[in-house]
């Protein structure tokens, strides 16, 4: 009820129009019954009895019947247009609010919620929340109509009114029972629908794995099991409908029969006329259908409340990452200094019962202005997390990340975005043109800048070869491009904004070594007058690392060593193992070849002991 109340408060005028239309419609329904009765009693019966037609009266009767129809149409227009507009406006308004909230909430919140959930929050949940709005004015109008009907019945004859008093409340009660029993079944079907859809989404997303491992049959079984549960749930919904729908239809018919019997007795007693009898019987026939509209509203309510609760969860979610109000000098083209000081970070658990994992502990380092710092470490050491912190995708649990001495949390969104740029490990491209993907409509990025960025990212060649050049649509998630092409596009996107700090998170892994070398050379010396940006680069390749002024070696979320590549190579065994892995492998192969009889090696650890 609070949901409906809120809806009315938000769109009071349009709701008033809809209810007015509905009440007009309802009144006309009652009126039509009496007009029909009146026409039969006062025009038809006398005319037939007399054997002659009173043209005036007949014309009047026809006009009255048609006039009522016209008024009903007006009522329908008001009600349906009002209700529809109200419903759609509310849906649109709340979709805007929910998606705004998505943009405001921090990434940590996004991590805790699956893409599917967020999609359905903004789509089907908003829809469900406002779904009862459409039949609501109809229901209100029907209520008015029912009261009117009972009052008019009493004005006609108390005995017939009693029949009405028995039938209409019974109809209403039957409706309520129906809705109550239907709601949990509908909810179950809805839940199963979501689950079926979830399985299909996941299974089709992983279609390649399913195919290459020949697991189609098992996946189909997994899907079929849930699809059959859904089938059973829907059959149970259908059976309930089968029980109640015919009963709801029969009840008013029985009422009409009762009217006939009671009416006959009252006619004998001289209490009513044929006109009145016909009117009342007609009233029962026309009222039966609208009364069910109330049932529809009631049936939709639980779904609406559930949808509304889920929408509320988004709107009320806390933990925004507010931006500050300090700005770094925007006109300054020089590189920025990035500093991590005693940074700790742990991801919040995806589910409440799981432990959160501490990813970074006491991380501290500096990327001095204009320098390149390489971040090196084994798989799962926390390198991507450092990259996320450096551009404030997430905030540290403790410690600070600063740019030119200013805490990232104090910067405005605009200043932060203009100063730093991240190229992520997995490239994300929008379903838009190449141009829009690179410029992102940021001010001051023209076609020349886009091409310059593409050249720097070694992507100008393939973009020029695309059918529509910069205007080529890249498709949903960039499906028309190869992995390496997507990576270079996102690299160009970062470069186009002329950031003062560039963070590359293993951003060239899908690019061939030769292409990567060209890109890096361009980045380092491209401007001619020294580096335009400081660079923090997550890398494995030695050529990339060798370009760095300093190397930070990360292991299990801690900075184990820092220094130049040569220093670390000499002093840090873990680092040396990591970056010289290929050379060592080659040397060992040389040895293998010398002592050809060496048995096959079974684990990496033994190799290290051998050495």
């Amino acid at each position: 009820m609070t949901v409906l109340g809120r809806a009315i408060r938000e769109q009071p005028r349009i709701f008033a129009v809809a209810v007015a239309g509905s009440v007009l419609f309802g009144s006309m329904v009652i009126a039509s019954a009496y007009v029909v009765g009146g026409v039969v009693g006062d025009v038809v019966v006398p005319a037939i009895a007399r054997g002659s037609v009173g043209v005036g009266a007949l014309a009047l009767a026809a006009a009255a019947l048609f006039g009522i129809s016209v008024l009903r149409v007006v009522g329908i227009f008001g009600r349906r247009l009002g209700a529809g507009y109200m419903q759609y406006r509310l849906q649109a308004a709340y979709r805007r609010r929910v998606t705004r909230r998505y943009l405001e909430l921090p990434l940590s919140w996004h991590h805790r919620n699956s893409t599917g959930t967020l999609l359905s929050n903004a789509n089907s949940d908003v829809e469900a929340a406002w779904y009862p709005i459409a039949p609501l004015p109809f229901a209100v109008g029907t209520l008015v109509m029912l009261i009117g009907a009972v009052v008019s019945l009493f004005l006609t004859d108390w005995a017939l009114a009693l029949v009405g008093l028995a039938v209409f409340p019974a109809l209403f009660a039957l409706n309520v029972v129906y809705s109550r029993r239907m709601a949990p079944r509908q909810a179950r079907a809805q839940r199963l629908r979501a689950e079926v859809s979830g399985i299909a989404h996941e299974s089709f997303d992983g279609a390649l794995v399913v195919k290459t491992m020949g697991r189609e049959a098992q996946e189909t079984d997994r899907f079929a099991a849930r699809a059959h549960e859904l089938r059973d749930a829907l059959i149970s919904v259908g059976r309930l409908r089968g029980v109640f729908d015919p009963m709801l239809e029969t009840l008013p018919s029985l009422g009409t029969l009762a009217v006939l019997v009671v009416g006959a007795f009252r006619f004998r007693a001289g209490a009513i006329t044929v006109t009145e009898l016909v009117s009342v019987a007609f009233l029962f026939t026309v009222l039966a259908f609208p009364v069910r509209a109330i049932g529809w509203v009631l049936a939709e309510l639980p779904r609406s409340v559930a949808g509304w609760d889920r929408v509320r969860r988004v709107l009320d979610a806390t933990g925004e990452m507010p931006y500050g109000d300090r700005r770094l000098d925007p006109a300054e083209p020089r590189p920025a200094t990035l500093a991590f000081d005693d940074v700790h970070f742990g991801y919040e658990p995806a589910e409440a019962h799981l432990p959160g994992t501490l990813v970074l502990g006491a991380v501290g380092f500096t990327v001095p202005a204009g320098k390149t710092v390489a971040l090196v470490g084994p798989t799962g050491a926390g390198k991507s997390t450092v990259a996320s912190l450096a551009v404030r995708l997430v905030d540290p649990d403790s410690g600070t990340v600063t740019l030119d001495g200013v805490d990232l949390r104090e910067l405005t969104a605009e200043s932060l975005a203009r100063t730093v740029a991240l190229v992520a490990q997995v490239p994300f491209v929008f379903d838009d043109t190449v141009r829009a993907n690179i410029s992102l409509d940021r001010p001051g990025i023209g076609d020349e800048d886009v091409w310059a960025a593409l050249r720097l990212a070694e992507a100008d060649g393939f973009v020029a070869a695309l059918p529509d050049g910069l205007d080529t649509m890249v498709g949903e998630r960039g499906t028309s491009l190869s992995g390496g092409q997507r990576q270079r596009l996102t690299l160009a996107r970062a470069l186009a904004g002329r950031p003062r700090l560039l963070v590359l998170d293993d951003a060239t892994s899908a690019v061939d070594p030769r292409v990567e070398a060209a890109i890096l050379a361009g980045l380092r010396g491209g401007a001619g007058d020294g580096a335009a940006a400081s660079i923090l680069v997550v890398a494995y390749r030695r050529a990339t690392i060798a370009l760095a002024d300093e190397v930070i070696y990360l292991e299990q979320g801690r900075v184990l060593a820092r220094g130049t590549h040569t220093e670390l190579l000499a002093t840090v065994p873990g680092y040396a193992d990591l970056v010289t892995a290929y050379e060592q492998a080659e040397q060992e192969r040389e040895q293998d070849r010398t002592y050809d009889e060496v048995a096959p090696l079974t684990s990496g650890l033994e190799i290290e002991v051998d050495r």
Binding site: R95, E216, T357
Partner: protein, 598 residues
């Protein structure tokens, strides 16, 4: 209307050209179970409808014989009791009809759903990828939901109301053919107008659906691309796009409802016209003594019984159009013959033992694209370890896809152990040949469940042993809950490199005779990669492995390297031999690799 190009493999021209009946026929042919007991259900529906006409007839009888023509309470009682008994029977029939209808239709549709699901998996990789993400999903979800929802709601209503039209017309004719003509004359123009509106309404609903799809796409992008949006400070731009999409959807919805209201208004006006006409003509007939008062009264009731189905049917028909369109889309998917098909029963098993590979004059081109591979002929002996190298776009990944029969060659053929690949039964092929793709997709389950994917019977101990054999025991121990660690949606709780480790373990426990690695360790750190490489060499000894690699460390340790350049095999042989020619493609690639790594 947006003119955004769509990659969907739907054929809008065909979709329009096929009639509703065509779809129904096709649908019934695919789900013969729908026809079971259909006659009985229809008979029950017919009886159920009789209940609706019973009351006006009773009123007529009661008024004519019990009240107006001299009061006779016995007649009234008889009429009422008989009608009540009829109502009890028809109500029961209504229940039985719905029960049968729902049970049969839901069962049939669940089967269609499952079949379509399986069929999507049977489509070739190329076909799957040419469909827009989500559009295949909606074939087995929202499209089928649309049909079931229609059947639950509109289907019964449509069935009952169409029947009601027929029965009502029959009764009206029995009372007075003249008045029946009047009613039809009043409704004829309305039906014509409504039909016209219907067409516009169908268009309007199509726009709503399309804009809803676009809105979902935009929301999806803003959710999946949240890090980019935040990192580039483009929340404002995203907001504008979202608002635009939301507004466009709302406009389309409002346009649809305006047309729909117009339709019901026309019906309503026709009803008023019919009532007025019946009174005028009815009175004239009554004066001529061809119609009694009771009959005229009954007729007025019958007109309302006639109006209701016409009005409801117009609304329900829209839903029916949607449902039919949904059905058609499901059937269209089912009708696509998989272009890379399982030979099934006629197929052959791969001979037991290690697998050798032969490419015989293999050429390949993506549909509508230039050739990617030209006339490749080569033999890979059983038990050998081969690396395929080449620049981006050279066609090396195509090797892996042809070898695992994700695609069929355009020309020539691929043979495994002498058997042409397209004659090998899929169950034999998939259990003996396993590929680890670069993007090792993980399911939203635990690490253990993902590794167990191909071999559900494996115990935790066996899985742990597999990780140990791969030299990944330390990594596994480092996870918060070991094998029971959830990997999150698409494995996103793990780093990209870690996902590749799990995918590799998954392929390893599948125990294939031919293992194809497509840059399977591209995001893993070098030390781990080298270690993995060594352990893989050891554990896959005795099997054939083919690795697509851009890290040349893999090539160095392979028995043989195949160098691909612009769709042709330009060099092959052991690493050392290939280096002997300093100007060769491989020597250049290797020089660049060395430059990068030391």
């Amino acid at each position: 209307m947006s003119t955004a190009p769509t990659t969907e493999a739907e054929r809008p021209a065909d979709e329009r050209s096929e009639s509703t009946w065509g779809t129904l026929r096709r649908g019934l042919a695919l789900s013969p179970e729908l026809k079971v007991g259909l006659a009985g259900t229809l008979a029950l529906a017919l009886v159920y409808m009789v209940g609706r006409v019973a009351v006006p007839v009773a009123v007529q009888r009661g008024i004519d014989h019990g009240i107006v023509g001299g009061l006779d309470l016995d007649v009234v009682w008889t009429v009422v009791v008989i009608t009540a008994a009829v109502l009890v029977v028809t109500t029961t029939c209504g229940y039985l009809m719905m029960r049968r209808l729902f049970t049969v239709s839901e069962t049939a549709l669940a089967n269609v759903r499952t079949r379509a699901f399986r069929h999507v998996h049977d489509l070739s990789m190329l076909h799957q990828q040419s469909e827009r993400r989500g559009s295949l999903v909606s074939r087995v979800t929202s499209d089928v939901d649309q049909i079931t929802q229609f059947l639950q709601w509109g289907g019964v209503i449509l069935l009952v109301n169409l029947g009601q039209l027929v029965v009502t017309t029959a009764v009206m004719l029995a009372y007075s053919w003249q008045l029946t003509l009047v009613v039809y004359a009043a409704f004829a123009p309305a039906v014509l107008v409504i039909r016209l509106l219907q067409r516009r309404l169908a268009g309007a609903y199509a726009t709503v659906r399309q804009r809803t799809g676009a809105l979902l796409g935009t929301i999806g992008e803003s959710v999946v691309g949240a890090p980019v949006i935040r990192a580039y400070g483009i929340a404002g731009r995203t907001e504008r796009r979202l608002d635009g999409a939301i507004e466009r959807q709302r406009e389309a919805q409002q346009r649809a409802i305006r047309i729909s209201i117009l339709g019901s208004s026309v019906g309503e006006l026709a009803a008023g016209l019919a009532l007025a006409g019946v009174v005028v003509v009815g009175v004239s007939l009554g004066v001529d003594r061809t119609l009694s008062i009771g009959q005229l009264t009954a007729f007025l009731f019958l007109v309302t019984l006639f109006i209701q189905p016409v009005q409801i049917a117009t609304e329900v028909l829209n839903e029916a159009q949607n449902a039919i369109a949904g059905w058609r889309r499901v059937l269209d998917v089912l009708d696509v013959a998989p272009d890379v098909a399982d030979p099934g029963e006629q197929g052959r098993e791969l001979p037991p033992g290690p697998v050798d590979v032969r490419f015989a004059n293999v050429g390949f081109a993506y549909p509508g694209g230039p050739p990617v591979l030209h006339d490749v002929t080569l033999d890979i002996p059983a038990k050998s370890r081969v690396a395929v190298v080449g620049e981006t776009g050279s066609g090396k990944t195509t090797f892996a896809k042809l070898l695992t029969r994700l695609m069929d060659p355009t020309t020539g053929s691929v043979l495994l152990s002498g058997v042409p690949l397209d004659q090998v039964r899929f169950d034999s092929l998939r259990s003996r040949v396993v590929m680890v793709p670069q993007d090792g997709f993980l399911f939203d389950a635990t690490v253990g469940e993902n590794v167990r994917f191909a071999r559900p019977e494996l115990t935790d101990e066996q899985l742990t042993a597999a990780f140990t054999e791969l030299g990944l025991a330390d990594w596994l121990d480092g996870l918060p809950s070991g094998l029971a660690t959830p990997v999150g949606e698409r494995g996103e709780a793990l780093s990209v490199g870690e996902r590749q480790l799990v995918a590799l373990a998954r392929a390893y426990v599948a125990d294939p005779d031919l293992l194809v690695l497509d840059e399977a360790t591209s995001a893993v750190d070098p030390a781990t990669e080298v270690r993995l490489q060594r352990t893989l060499d050891a554990v896959t000894r005795g099997r054939t492995t083919l690795a697509i690699a851009h890290r040349l460390s893999t090539a160095q340790s392979a028995d043989e390297v195949i160098v691909v350049d612009r769709g042709r095999v330009v060099q092959r042989g052991p690493h050392e031999d290939l280096l002997k020619d300093p100007d060769s493609v491989y020597a250049l690639l290797y020089a660049s690799w060395l430059e990068q790594t030391r």
